[in-house]
Subunit: 369 residues, 4 copies
């Protein structure tokens, strides 16, 4: 069944395989009037581009985006925005070998089980390149959110067992170093850890944190389309993510109610919370505090050590994967988490617009809207 | 916008508030021919019923289900199955006070922000009673899954910082004790922990684990409707869940690829995995191994200690919540996690039926199907 | 697969069979703050109630609605509105006979083909009673539309070959006579026609017209969710409707462009159309003119003449249907057409609220909304 | 809101404007294993191509399709199939004038009302070129249906007041002449009619009939996703369609029940109907007879006569449209009706696969499927 569409109002549909003609996305439901050109998208894509770091695959991928529809005279028209990134690195030959067996930790086996066969070139549809469509759509969502004053910011919180300290927090650092960590000191230690991984022909996982600032209260739709439920789906749909949490997350399970509850505080006209264990969401609806979520990524499954697996002839074999693979995908995944968060937040903001009859009447009856 | 519907093929819509006329669910898309009567539903509802444990609210709620449509001569007809549980405990007076302020950790503030006002009686739509509809639908999904040989089993893994040992695992124990823990010894320690919580007028959280056995490979729809992504949404949509994980979950982030990858093994005609760090899902598609997921619940926000908050007049006030509240919701939430898992698994099994042209041809052309 | 849900934002799910416990609907996505009580619903249901006319079935059905959720202190809360009409006329014995064969023009055969068996009592889910849920939801939609100044009005345009004259148009007449025709003279002729039908043990069809007044321009979502496309689906989903048209409809196919085009005219600040062949919709989007649509109903398939059919033993047999059946359903269907139109119009009005970034910014940033 | 997606399982999303970079479609949910290459698509696109008839626009449009994803080694993979037709005729200058006013019968005014501005080049998104995406997707659906033995065939039934005679029916004729009429004699009269239209600087409408042969019984989902309801939406979403009917359609409204009912007949193991007034659908579910539907198209709104309208300065003006426009779109619309019918029929066939528990059990438990 169709599973390549996400969102209800700001709805995205991605398509494309690692070694097909290209990767793309169609955004349906983007409001009209947003200033948009390819540079808005490109700067997001550049953040996930391989080859920029020694801890990322050394494949050369230009990943230049082209907007094919939905923009006229520099503004979105309200009609579908179709975007494409042509694939340029098509060395199918590299992948002939992996056609015959199932790589551990990859989707080779499960795609074969589901569809009867698979596009084995570079993982086909299950390749990390699929996230190009998400990031392109996320760039549009982020730009639209910024028009509403809302910002979405993701960064690497941990690689392996190296975790940042919030005392050193510096988001500029995260945007320039090779780990995506907003902590110069931790980033250096993470680099050492990754070098060690590479020497051992091994790979590492990590954690990406994402925060949403200036989020209005009241966003999220009870009871199944809670804001945190939709964010969970958005983030868990990213390949390699094995856990999701909001606010204090797993730690909340061993806390006491007295320490986990956030008190409300009135200051002038504004209600705020004294603490934010909840991560900005209560009952599935944003409470006006900063939203904080975390995505836990497993280590890259493509490692160069010898591994045991089976081939399509039903034989138990030993394999040794070749090629160019990221020893850790976390730094490149930061922008993917940011993109999926932005898409979800925007969609839920739009969904909220019909929650109250008084606002609908104002929308349709008043001169000033 | 509408947010009370879950699923694409086996689609459920819940309705009802804590102190309205009742709580219900409509299942649309249940296949025809399933033997079903109210006792199938009731035994699931009885597992979430309050009053059966000293660590659950002492409110008396009979929670008797009535099937209103979709079943004829003992079998489902393929048309919508509507089920209702009438509310019997309507003491609105208990809740007059909480109408005037925002309880910390509850959805009072966010519902007011979203809708302009709220049904304040017992939490209204954000009450835990809303899960009655989920559990009723989950009972139907579970029965249908059992026809396919698939079983879904949830249990309490931790309460506060007390965690079960898999060495003591005994699911019968979990179904009879007051914690839902499949470990008699851990359960006793958890009871002591909960008594302490109650004495301190405090509350506890915990972890529910759910496993799916005999799951066929190939289930899950790339790339957004991955099996784990949809399970994440299903589970995170349960009130009080703050984190979700699959397989090794958060631990995978600090593992190495070499230890996290599961080798494939061929035995006769069968491909299996030597380990199951993945929790039964690769690339968003089931791999034939047991599916394992975990839900992390925050402590019950209703505690009897004094708390700081604001009222509707914009004043900072101190409150002390009265009434009958669970010191921990985890034991009663076990069946809710099981229900949401069953609903999701069934929906994805049905979604998978159109994945291959050869099977569709066999379905429509062959005499034997 | 699930097919009992209609709408994207104002989303309705109906359930229930002719002779089950009751018929109901859940409205999910109704904005908060609408004044609503059961009398708002009942007056719509009373318009479809049988027994009020000699040309409708003489079955007694009280059809009293109960609101089960989603309304608190007289206003909608934004949460699902569940409504039920209990069935009171359960004489299953009347229907034992029809269990064994397939009535011509009915869904007996097709339900058996689809589901393997059927609830044969009174047509089960395919009974006209299913429209109770639609009418109840339509009452809510109509009330909300009236808050925006929009009115939806349906009436009988033709019964058999008797058609109203617009010169005699009197909507009050339509609401009080037995045909639903807004033309006293035509109504009398239609009554004579129906008497003749009944004497011949035969039945009649007819046409219902529906108009929407004060409709804002700009409503409808290109390219598949065009306003006319969604109206077509809404109306064609009513049992017995065999054709749908908008504006000049079928007549447009034999017209010339020069006569079919509607000129635009500017009067002060207002753009209007000199004529309205289009029926208020251009390119799938409302143009600010009155919306006009028509539904063509086939004759009631339950006739008392002898008919040829097959039974479940695979024998060709003659049957003679007994019981109480409408010789024409058109008068009672008027309110059903009105309801489905109102539901669709409202849903599309809500869908339109996110079409422009400037309006979204005003919605979220301005103090006055 | 998003409105460019159609279908639930075989789900298509179209994008593109008349004078943008191209027109495309993403098919999500196409089963794996279908043999498919560009020639399968191209032969459908060639049927809607302009320039092949003197009654169609003389614009040169190559309309060559490229498959960008979802096909590997000649077969569909189950992942999204993205297709693009690049636009080659970009003479924006032709359209500068129409930017300033609203053409009667077109969507210029309504797009401006909805979105605040519009891509005015050649109608932008509301151009007939949008149907390229539908036809490309329809080609895939038709090929898949033919694997199941089901054929979908559309033809011109009428142009203006010239209607075919079924006595002359010859579908080969329809595929080679300039009107799409399967009646050589009627086609000649229609040509004469069209010449007259062109001489008068006027345009014509017409009727397209579509039939589905070898349709299995049991397809269609009560109560809102009835087969006829979904077909109605599919067809009415095509630009310029003003009416839709199934079977006897509008004529059924003035028939008697005794003449409109179709008797069932048993012949050996087979149940069939003696007549087919119903057009192959009873209670929204296919009955095994041929499905027959009709689409009524209004005359092309672009005529070369002088017309009255308003411009963006709010002035009443006279205009005379220039350029290349079809005097009738019906012959080119035949394949569009066929495509939308095929897409809908296929989607409903896939939706039906989960209707019965016995078939689901066979699907998952049996070796042979």
């Amino acid at each position: 069944m169709s599973g390549s569409t996400f969102g209800k109002i700001f709805k995205i549909t991605t398509w494309g395989e690692s070694h097909g003609a290209g990767i793309g996305v169609v955004i349906d439901g983007c409001p009209a009037g947003l200033l948009l050109d390819e540079s808005d998208i490109q700067k997001f894509l550049d953040r996930r581009k391989p080859g920029s770091s020694q801890y990322a695959t050394q494949r050369k991928e230009a990943d230049c985006v082209e907007i094919l529809s939905g923009v006229f005279e520099g503004r979105t028209t309200g009609t579908p925005i179709s975007m494409i990134v042509h694939n340029t690195s098509h060395r199918t030959s590299d992948y002939r070998e992996i056609a015959s067996y199932y790589r551990p930790g990859h989707a080779d086996f499960t795609f074969d089980q589901k569809y009867g066969f698979r596009d084995y070139r570079g993982g086909g549809r299950s390749s990390g390149r699929e996230t190009i469509g998400r990031v392109a759509a996320g760039a549009v969502a982020s730009k639209l959110l910024s028009e509403l004053g809302i910002t979405v910011t993701a960064y690497t919180q941990a690689i392996g067992d190296i975790t940042i300290s919030m005392d050193n927090f510096d988001i500029e650092e995260a945007r320039t170093n090779q780990t995506g960590m907003p902590d110069k000191e931790a980033s250096k230690r993470a680099e050492a850890y990754l070098k060690e991984c590479m020497e051992k022909l091994d790979s590492a996982g990590g954690v990406v944190t994402c925060q949403v600032n200036n989020m209005p209260a009241g966003i999220g739709e009870p009871v199944f389309d809670k804001l945190d439920a939709n964010l969970a789906k958005a983030i868990m749909s990213i390949g390699a993510v094995k856990a999701f949490e909001i606010g204090d997350g797993t730690k909340a399970a061993s806390a006491y109610g007295s320490s986990n509850n956030d008190s409300f505080r009135q200051t002038g006209e504004t209600v705020s919370k004294a603490t934010n264990h909840a991560g900005g969401i209560l009952g599935g609806i944003s409470d006006g505090s900063e939203i904080i979520l975390r995505a836990y990524f497993k280590p890259t499954p493509s490692i160069f050590q010898k591994q045991e697996t089976v081939n399509k002839n039903g034989e138990n074999i030993s394999i040794q994967i070749k090629g160019r693979h990221d020893p850790v995908i976390v730094p490149r995944a930061v922008v993917v988490v940011e993109a999926m968060t932005a898409i979800t937040i925007l969609d839920m903001l739009l969904q909220n617009m019909t929650s109250r009859i008084d606002k609908i009447k104002m929308f349709y009856n008043e001169k000033n809207i």
